[in-house]
């Protein structure tokens, strides 16, 4: 069972950081409701990983990293947190977002995930590049490259509202087994 003082600490951070994290993660997911699910799961993990959470210098950064990982590793939610797949949030809360915000979210959802994460955390959540690198587990140079590509792709998407998505590259002709 998690320690009582750890739960108190998680509760403190929950009170101050939950909404901010949902806002930051919305760009990462492209969907505020998914962001709420991911952030809630991050707090649940903080309760269950109290030692690691308490040891973190920046609890909000710890939660942000976990939430980013949650959005990228849906399988884990399915495997370990299967019953949590229901929506905790009411999507109607966000119906009154300005049109250009909704268009931005739609465009973000069409970006490759690594570029979307970098754009969302750096340009929308205003994190410095090194903190983005820490959150997504990639070198700073890689994050910068993703930002450059992401900006270019996003500019194109926002200027052309409904372009056809790029087909996925076919890595190699299909075969059942391979040794090389």
């Amino acid at each position: 069972m998690p320690r009582a003082n750890a739960i108190d600490r998680v509760q403190d951070v929950y009170g101050t950081s939950y909404r901010r994290l949902v806002g930051q993660l919305t760009g990462v997911t492209g969907d505020p409701v998914e962001a709420e699910d991911a952030v809630m799961e991050a707090f649940a993990r903080a309760v269950n990983s109290s030692r690691s959470f308490l040891a973190a210098e920046n609890p909000e950064a710890w939660l942000r990293t976990v939430a980013v990982n949650v959005t990228r590793t849906r399988w884990r939610r399915n495997r370990f947190f299967r019953d949590v797949s229901h929506r905790l949030a009411d999507a109607e809360s966000y119906d009154d977002l300005p049109e250009d915000r909704l268009a931005l979210l739609a465009a973000l959802r069409r970006l490759p995930a690594p570029q979307r994460e970098a754009i969302a955390l750096h340009h929308l959540a205003d994190l410095p590049v090194h903190e983005v690198a820490e959150a997504v587990g990639a070198p700073v140079g890689t994050v910068k490259a993703r930002l450059a590509r992401g900006r270019a792709a996003l500019a194109e998407l926002l200027s052309e509202p409904d372009p056809e998505p790029d087909p996925e590259p076919d890595p190699r002709p299909d075969s059942e087994r391979s040794t090389r």
Binding site: M1, V10, T26, F81, G137, R180
Partner: protein, 399 residues
């Protein structure tokens, strides 16, 4: 391009924050769900380290270090992307939204991963990818019963609905036959493996029923390089650990009863060093690690890890998902509660969590490795200095 940077603030203003009880409920639910996966993965970990013991025991040169390719080569940046040269079918599975390295296991200088993508509506898609130096072998497995994979001498024992196959590090298949049959004496070179029909000894191309005292049901087993077997068996409502040199005369240790609330056991070993973890069942849904004991004489005598971390109370270890014994006799656990945990030869317990989700620890040669969480894909983290420093590398099938 000007982005509307007010978006996070505008979303935050609209977010409806549930009460903190929702967080606690979700945390409790997560622990309950972990419980259902822990026993199976713990058993798989025990089987993996059984194979490792062969690779490092007497009479074996141990071969190249499957997880240690970075020792002789400059570390390369992990891009976290799927190997583009994989066949398309395998590539699609590894690119799945919910893909996971279900099993990661070393053998004979190679390392293999069983990848499962369970995100579709039609069950799981499974791929096996192994790596030996620069050589990568891969295949899509039939979508039938969920396969199992364990490191054994000469490769990996793959169990599917069709039976058993030994997959070599070169990607070739060798048939293995489950003879069942009567109990037999363990022999040097035997490897204890877990199968759907119970524990078996792998001897050559045959699987033989594991001997057990008085016909008890075997929960976990390990065979030393000299052929001494250590088993954990269920007896009544308790667990008994016993060892034998001939499969008929047994030395009993770890006698537990129903009052001890032991629900399972996991065994791992390397050479004559053996570790046993006894698992309980907590009302909160977690599986506490109630006892860890280590032996350096093939199960004759045991030292018990300090109980401060093992009583299932606050700060206690829970939700075991890996157990391994290093070349120096150090025991390593991966747990859901504290990540990586080290138990030294004096049975002192120290948690050394590496990521938010450490799992699947194994030891090979003088290295200890585990799967650590890192972004879209997990990575393999290995240490050859008793956990002081760690080197990461991509899992098979990734770059």
């Amino acid at each position: 391009m000007i982005l509307p940077t007010d978006l996070p603030r505008e979303v935050a203003e609209r977010a409806v924050q549930p009460g903190f009880d929702t967080v606690l409920d979700q945390a409790r639910s997560a622990r309950r769900r972990r419980r259902r996966t822990t026993i199976a993965s713990g058993m798989a970990a025990a089987a993996v380290v059984g194979g490792i013991a062969w690779g490092t025991g007497p009479g074996s040169d141990g071969g190249p270090d499957p997880a240690g390719s970075s020792r002789s080569q400059a570390p390369t940046e992990i891009t976290g992307s799927v190997d583009p040269d994989l066949p398309a079918g395998v590539h699609r599975i590894l690119s799945g939204d919910m893909v996971d390295p279900w099993v990661v296991s070393p053998s004979d200088g190679g390392i293999a991963a069983l990848w499962a993508d369970c995100g579709g509506a039609n069950g799981c898609r499974i791929a096996l990818v192994s790596r030996l130096g620069d050589q990568v072998s891969s295949r899509v497995l039939p979508e039938t019963a969920f396969p199992s994979l364990q490191g054994v001498p000469g490769g990996w024992l793959l169990e599917t609905a069709d039976g058993f196959t030994r997959v070599t590090p070169e990607g070739e298949d060798q048939p293995v036959y489950d003879t069942g049959g009567s109990l037999t004496h363990p022999e040097p070179g035997d490897t204890a493996v877990s199968t759907r029909r119970g524990w078996r000894l792998l001897r050559g191309d045959k699987l033989i029923t594991v001997p057990a005292p008085e016909g008890d049901t075997v929960q976990a087993a390990y065979v030393t390089p000299a052929g001494r077997i250590v088993v954990a068996v269920r007896r009544g409502s308790g667990i008994v650990v016993a060892s034998s040199g001939d499969g008929s005369t047994w030395s009993y240790t770890h006698m537990t009863t129903a009052a001890d609330r032991i629900v399972g056991a996991v065994i791992a070993g390397q050479g004559d060093d053996v570790a046993v973890a006894l698992l309980g069942d907590s009302p909160d849904g977690s599986i506490p690690v109630l006892q860890v004991s280590v032996s350096d004489d093939a199960g004759e005598t045991w030292a018990y890890a300090s109980e401060g971390r093992l009583a299932g109370g606050p700060g206690g270890l829970a939700d075991l998902n890996g157990l391994a014994v290093g070349a120096d006799g150090t025991t390593w656990l991966t747990t859901g509660s504290a990540g990586l945990v080290r138990v030294d030869s004096r049975a002192n317990v120290m948690a050394t969590q590496l990521s938010s989700h450490d799992r699947g620890v194994f030891a090979v040669a003088d290295r200890v490795c585990l799967v650590t969480e890192r972004g879209r894909y997990d990575v393999l983290s290995c240490s050859d200095d008793d956990g002081t420093t760690w080197v990461t590398q991509a899992l098979p099938g990734l770059q």
